[in-house]
Symmetry: C2
Subunit: 292 residues, 2 copies
Amino acid sequence: MSDFDKRYGDYLAYFNKRLEEFCDKLDCTPEVLRRSLTYSLMLGGKRIRPVLMLAVADAIKTDKERVLDFALALELIHTYSLIHDDLPDMDNDDFRRGQPSNHKVFGAANAILAGDGLLNTAYSVLFDQCFKGNEYVSAAKYICDCAGVYGMIAGQSADILHENDEIVSEEDLEFIYSRKTGKLITAATVTPSILNDGKYFSELKMLGNKLGYLFQLTDDILDVEGAFEKTGKSLGKDEKEGKLTGVRVYGLDNCKLRVDVIGDDCIRIIDGIDGDTSFLYDFVNFVKTRQI
Amino acid sequence: MSDFDKRYGDYLAYFNKRLEEFCDKLDCTPEVLRRSLTYSLMLGGKRIRPVLMLAVADAIKTDKERVLDFALALELIHTYSLIHDDLPDMDNDDFRRGQPSNHKVFGAANAILAGDGLLNTAYSVLFDQCFKGNEYVSAAKYICDCAGVYGMIAGQSADILHENDEIVSEEDLEFIYSRKTGKLITAATVTPSILNDGKYFSELKMLGNKLGYLFQLTDDILDVEGAFEKTGKSLGKDEKEGKLTGVRVYGLDNCKLRVDVIGDDCIRIIDGIDGDTSFLYDFVNFVKTRQI
């Protein structure tokens, strides 16, 4: 096992312990509500955002315990967005992480409420943090704004708006990428900075944005070239739905070239951060070469 | 014009000024996202929750300016819940406040995002308040928990679960009433207390719960006996959808008797509050006799 794999596993275990504790404590009724929330949370997944947040915390020497519940809230927000994205009225996706998506198990009405419930619960977790002081409020508000109508939701809205555009525009693609994917990943990289006197704030903000771009580029490529057994998602959906993707704007080969260029951008940003950044370098490579 | 109508109008104008300012400042893109958010916010409505919050603030001498943005957030949360409730996969309601519901104008996908966006924006408003001190965090968290999976969302989930129950139970009805409607109204009555050293906290919590009950009872009665021109909602829907309502559990006549009983409960609670409570007494009567 590589050093990267080991550290990824350690971050994952540290985060999953908190997530499981959170799920165990959840005792809302009716039972179908509790089950629909935990179903999607426990489907697994790579936990990219929490792992990245913990790794950045280590790199800039922010106490991991301080960021843990922010990582939890971020994963709750990410999971809500997947449940709503998969709905019949949205991307209509039957599979997520190789399992039936939330609405296939619980029905669309319960899936809408499960998404609403996770979003709301994320903020309940964050308000608990706000009692600790204003830097915690700042971090919570930053995550909220990344998730909101100037962030992820704007990206999702533009994603729908530009379905089946006949003329594709790089500018629209950038808008969608930077918001739909980039904003929550930026929340992951920036939170440890806000909780540590703004250390490397602008570098980490840039890094989040670039990593989000990289992540979405590889997502688009995997939608064309991936294997369901690995991604756990329906494939070829972007083209079928006329989505505005990197593959559509740049073509598959140029998309792959861009992966290298953006990957190099990430490396250069990490070069400017003084600390234990070895995991972050490997993380860039992990996103570049991911099959899942 | 009665004194009550005048004061209701004053509270409404004070709140609407803030809401309009908020809508004017909203400049998220794409334009369809901004329009879908403001469409539902500006449909009008009685603004029961903000008006009640402001009136309670006056009654217990909490500065109205302190609660104004909490009232705003509460109305954003209430509006998101209406948009999602009206969706084809939920109650499938084509009208709201006499106008086409959000998804009839913008489509279901945009309506899902509009709801998500309003919920998220409500919390962005509340995080801004959290910088002011821990009592503000407490108030924000209280609203969040009223809206969440132990609050309103639990009620909505139970509401769906008990559709078409053959055997109806008073206990299930109480669960749905107290959460689906009662929790946000309790948030309205309790917030001014949290921001004022917990003054009359338990009385105001009880009052919110009872007012919510009263509000939902009259809602159920209006669904049977109301006029679309006044309510602005499709009528007779509860029965068509097999909803568990007060009318179904108690029968229409007993439901009306209960309105008087619960109304008296509210009056007795208000009797225990020392302050300018004349508006609150009239408010109870307003809910009891409402046609809208």
